[in-house]
Subunit: 764 residues, 2 copies
């Protein structure tokens, strides 16, 4: 029976529901030392000195280490696969602790102590003397001549600038009768707010270093720790147990390198670094605040003559994932609404803010917000219904991108939009809501997005897998692609069960914990790559395992290998359907044969040289109380074409989580900084307004299942897409309800009050 | 440079010397529940009832489980590989807890509690009511009609009887002029006394059970736990971290099954069982006390006309390794001193003593004691020098055993004896000591033994191995054969370095910890099999890995694979010796090639269908203070032919440890029981006289290095041999010093007083 496509219960459901699942803290040795970090209390400047004497006098303090003690060489932190081409390697601008501090919360020193209290007292007792420098928080300000400079190697704070040209923009805009629609669109700094803060512990063992970390990318962390410490990479062993979410924050080397180094400074004893929520907000990573400037030139029939897009990405203090995020955002425009004449420019700019890194969507929530706001404005400008405008202009069936060679095989965009339209009862409601003229008005908004699956051809895509036939006929599976809460282990089990012919996903034991010493190399959880990328190596390795099993079955049964198959966990003669033996019988005979003992395993690597488009849209229905500046989300639907669903229940759960993040992005979430000092103002879950179940209507998830023909199991990206189009759909719904276009996220009551006042809907 | 043959420092030396190595207790989750066992206080009888009320009332007690709660089906515990032939499967006579208790210390009930104190109080509070039965402690008594019966399925308590006949003994003894030498030889019950007591912990994870155990045989424990709990075997995951010795005691399922079952009775919470030293002595395993009856018929020229050997092995209460130990002891006689006419009979008999299992030597220390005592008596009887007698009669060069097909390729016995003779200055000292006639007399004694390597053809011999090329050019290696303190990981690293061509054993990272979910199947540490058996799979897998590396090197360098080799960690063109690239460069290019990414690994299973003879001898020099009944060991040498030495320093360390055990076996160690009650009298390290460094002279270890031609690296057994011939050498030295033959071990002052009195050397 096919397991792929079934709504199976998660393999880890029982343990997670009963609290038995083991996270890094559950694996912590009892005698681990506590490391606490002294963070800078200025946003920009130099550490002149650190007085350690008071801290060192505190009972229980084992060691104090400062920015004057760390290795000199810089290292990168982005969770990208290594490239042998130096030009494609990540920017190495990090030290383990910093003399040049570049944001409020930068890492200056650590106190290592026998207990948490001593470590915290030690941090408080450290006296740090700074030489303060002027600071800059805004990306465009930071690019101006005379702005404070963060990194010597990057003049004007520009980490990178790229552009893209298609056709002749300057010639195209001279076409007579064009309508110009121009806007500036601002997206906020937000944080991932995964349930489990980042943490890790490290110790030395036989001259090597083990790091157990809450990370999405164990194999990449191994390399970064090696780089940071200047050690051979296989001196480092990274273990990834279950983790409580990551959303991209943990697709970065966070405190693993510092933790590993601290262990080496206390004779290899186990040391632990556990981030508080406050540290997670500021000293981990945030989502890039990107400012967009879009100029669209439309013909009266609602087609695009030309478009120009400028993107200014606020990188914060350190490079992390750097330019790749805004580059992806920029790249979305020409494919989303193809247009013959385009000019795009993207800048990534250092500022004295927390470093921005990967976050669910990787530039696409920002791009979707700006593009779909501008497109809504365009529809209005030419007097078209926004849905009709999109149906006309969005990427057509058969579209192929010249770079990724992604193809829109099935007119997925329009199919998604049709599904959303039907669910939300679009025509009737649009007509009805148009009648609202009182203080409370209703509106429908929509937005679309597309998404790549994995990162080919930008970076390496490789996945390895090992399978082992157990004596009871079950199969154990290891791979480097990680379970981070999304349900990867469960879909891997379903896939493997189908390929090998086990008939039941419970006959696959996925080793959830990656250990870089022994787990086949994989790159980890990011870029919505897991089911797509791992699928290739699961199918390839599963077929190899099956071949070995049938080969041994041939020895035991004297039947021709080509006359046998594995069905529901048994060796079956295909010519007459006879069950010859169970997999358990085969495994037992193979293992315990004194003349030809076989421990049957298979292992292989698959190099993925494909990518695939996912598509989707959101329709949101809002009710806006204009005098109260209050938006109530009444209904919302996400429709996705992410190919074939391996497990519809888990797919829905992915969508629900992404929709929740999008609602927060659209209405409430924003990390704020004091403009004078750069100090974060709301880096806690009380003041930072994360969207919760209290803010949600029913979250409707629907799918258009167009099996991806390039994929091992018909799958393509689903992990990140649900977070992309929610915020602009809400923005457009508010626009359609009130006639007020709001070009920034989140659309808080403060923003609404200002804009409603500006537009005359509220008067003093 | 060849690594095999070098005195390299152990890979785990630094961590072990600095106390950083992690044993099972170091990995224990903080919230593990304590399981303490209620042991029977009678040696034989039935539990009528257990009153749990007082125990359950103790704060902290979570659960009390008794022999009335456990699964009904019996299971075996011996650490033997599974056999598909039911006739070769181990005797399943165990339950997790016992209603029919069969020795003083049997397991009756458990108390599971939040802390150790509550668990111990709970055990004390349990009220057990017994129906007592008569007991029997002696093997020959237990065989008599009317003796108390331990197991229904085994009448007269005989677990098994086997015999062996060669030639015609009855006819042969009628040859005129024969001299008859007859003796009864008694060996004691001793315990392994490894430093780390057995312990384990278990918990459920996603519906499966993990057991972390101090064991020698993780893959076998997985099977036994599965059997004991009636669960599919791959529901069980066994993890073996570093262990503090085992010596065969941990080649048995000890408390792993009970621990796993206890976890299932408390909703899968982690539970721990930690044996005390007192429990280790009695409720784990002991070495079989074997009584030998030997009748030798000699011609006047000192050749054997016929021999008859009877062996009575005291099995104790449960079968454990059962008859296989005395069978091995019996099998040693015809090969040790080949004789045309032999009759051997061996019985394994249940008694109300602790269960006997595997212990270093597996029957051979007992056989060597009895055989070498009898042979010494034979030499005396025909008036020959004992060394000359042995030189004449011991297994000759070219001898081939018809069953194992072992061959004595190099006249190893005589080469060992020659080396020992030279070191001990035999001729001069024998002449000089013969003059001693006072109260203090000196003597030289010797003894020999032979030993099989691994267990083919009796049982399955299989070993699997996985190697992985790391990005820094090092290799990670996993195998199921275990490091138990003997240095296995270090010799594996040396072997792998040589096979792959790494040039330095530090470029091999051996994964010391076995995890049955992922570690290639191996059988574990026993039967002195590790370097021999693992060697085959290391060489096979290393060659596979090398082939894959050179294949990829061919792609990168455009050179023919047959023109390349791996030398000192680099790819070398053999035609001109040019270094083409380092392994690190190759691994990096292979892993990060976006078009053909390879994570280079190799894995294979080798079915071993060979065995090999090891040989050796001990020469001991003693000074006996007759009035004080005190033996001082003045000098001792072990000479071994264990084939090629992978690491001479580790080989010496093995020998030193074995010699120490043999000294204790010869002079002081014996677990004593009250004859009325069967209660152990000295189950602690104060009253049990373990041999210590205070009892040792310099321990001289020498080797005759005849590389074994059947072996992957020329190696053969060394682990157990050093424990075999020490005790009889001491016995014979005392005999030669005093003229008093003592036919029991250990030769304590009490025994000497009795025997010296009997022989008239001491008078009242």
């Amino acid at each position: 029976m096919a397991e792929v496509g079934k709504r199976e219960v998660r393999v880890d459901a029982f343990d997670k529901a009963t609290g038995r699942t083991k996270y890094y803290e559950d694996l912590m040795p009892r005698d681990a030392l506590y490391v606490r970090i002294k963070h800078s209390t200025i946003a920009h400047g130099f550490v002149k000195s650190v007085d350690k004497s008071a801290a060192e006098a505190i009972p229980g303090v084992v060691k104090v280490l400062t920015c004057f003690d760390v290795p000199e060489h810089p290292f990168p932190t982005a969770g990208h696969p290594w490239s042998m081409d130096p030009g494609h390697q990540d920017v190495a601008d990090r030290h383990l602790l910093n003399r040049h501090v570049r944001y409020y919360g930068d890492d200056v020193a650590v106190v290592i102590a026998e207990n948490e209290v001593a470590a915290m007292q030690g941090v408080r007792a450290l006296q740090v003397e700074y030489e303060e420098l002027p600071l800059v928080l805004d990306a465009q300000e930071a690019m101006k001549p005379g702005a404070p400079q963060l990194h010597e190697a990057f003049p004007n704070n520009i980490l990178k600038h790229t552009d893209m040209k298609k056709g002749d923009y300057q010639a195209a805009i001279r076409e007579p009768g064009l309508i110009k629609v121009e806007g500036w669109y601002d997206t906020p700094t937000v944080q991932h707010c995964h349930i489990e803060n980042h943490g890790c512990f490290a110790y030395e063992e036989n001259g090597r270093i083990t790091v157990v970390a809450s990370t999405q990318i164990p194999h990449i962390i191994r390399r970064v720790v090696g780089q940071a410490l200047g050690r051979p990479w296989s001196d480092i062993r990274v273990v990834k147990p279950y983790i409580g979410g990551g959303f991209g924050n943990k697709q970065d080397a966070l405190y693993e390198p510092l933790c590993a180094w601290c262990s080496t400074q206390v004779q290899g004893r186990c040391v632990r670094i556990d981030c508080s929520r406050e540290e997670t907000f500021v000293s981990n990573r945030v989502r890039h605040a990107i400012r967009f400037h879009i100029v669209s030139w439309l013909r009266p029939d609602g087609t695009f003559a030309a478009r120009k897009v400028e993107l200014f990405s606020n990188q914060g203090a350190y490079a992390s994932h750097g330019h790749s995020i805004v580059a992806k955002a920029m790249g979305s425009f020409p494919q989303h609404y193809p247009c013959d004449n385009m000019e795009c420019d993207a800048w990534t700019v250092f500022t004295n803010r927390p470093a921005a890194g990967a976050m669910r969507g990787y530039g696409m929530p920002q791009a979707s917000f700006a593009d779909e706001a501008n497109v809504e404005d365009c529809a209005k400008a030419v007097g078209m219904d926004p849905l009709a405008f999109r149906m006309q202009n969005v990427m057509p069936q058969g579209y192929e991108d010249g770079f990724s060679h992604n193809v829109n095989y099935d007119d997925s965009f329009r199919q998604c939009l049709e599904a959303g339209k039907k669910y939300i009862d679009y025509d009737r409601k649009v007509a009805e809501f148009a009648k609202d003229t009182g203080p409370i008005r209703r509106g429908i908004g929509m937005a679309t997005f597309w998404y790549n699956t994995a990162v080919y051809p930008i970076s390496l895509e490789t996945s390895s897998n090992r399978m082992q036939l157990n004596l009871d006929g079950s199969v154990t599976m290891q791979c480097g692609e990680t379970e981070i809460g999304q349900g990867a282990d469960t879909v891997y089990a379903q896939m493997a069960a189908d390929v090998v012919g086990l008939g039941d996903y419970r006959r696959v034991h996925v080793v959830s914990c990656q250990d870089t010493d022994i787990t086949p190399t994989g790159l980890g959880a990011y870029a919505s790559r897991q089911t797509y990328v791992a699928g290739f190596s699961i199918r390839q390795t599963g077929l190899l395992l099956k071949e070995k099993i049938l080969d041994y079955a041939g020895k035991l049964t004297r039947q021709a290998v080509y006359n046998m198959d594995i069905v529901d966990g048994s060796i079956v003669r295909t010519t007459d359907g006879k069950v010859l033996m169970s997999l358990s019988e085969l495994a037992m005979h193979a293992q315990y044969n004194p003349n030809d003992s076989q421990h049957i395993t298979a292992e292989s690597t698959y190099t993925i040289r494909n990518n695939a488009y996912s598509f989707g849209c959101t329709f949101a229905e809002v009710e806006v109380d204009i005098p109260m500046c209050k938006v109530t989300l009444k209904d919302i639907i996400n429709v996705h074409d992410c190919g074939r669903l391996v497990n519809p229940a888990l797919a829905e759960a992915q969508v629900h989580g992404g929709m929740s993040m999008a609602i927060g992005y659209g209405l409430s979430e924003q990390l704020l900084f004091d403009e004078k000092t750069g100090k974060p103002l709301n880096n806690n879950l009380l003041d930072y307004k994360l969207s919760t179940i209290m803010d949600h209507p029913h979250l409707e998830a629907q799918f258009v299942e167009n099996a991806e023909p390039t994929s091992a199991f018909g799958t393509k990206a689903l992990g990140e897409p649900p977070a992309c189009s929610g915020a602009p759909a809400i923005r457009n719904a508010i626009y359609n309800a009130t006639g007020v276009a709001i070009d920034q996220d989140p659309i808080t009551p403060h923003v609404l009050f200002r804009r409603f006042t500006e537009e005359g809907l509220i008067r003093d």
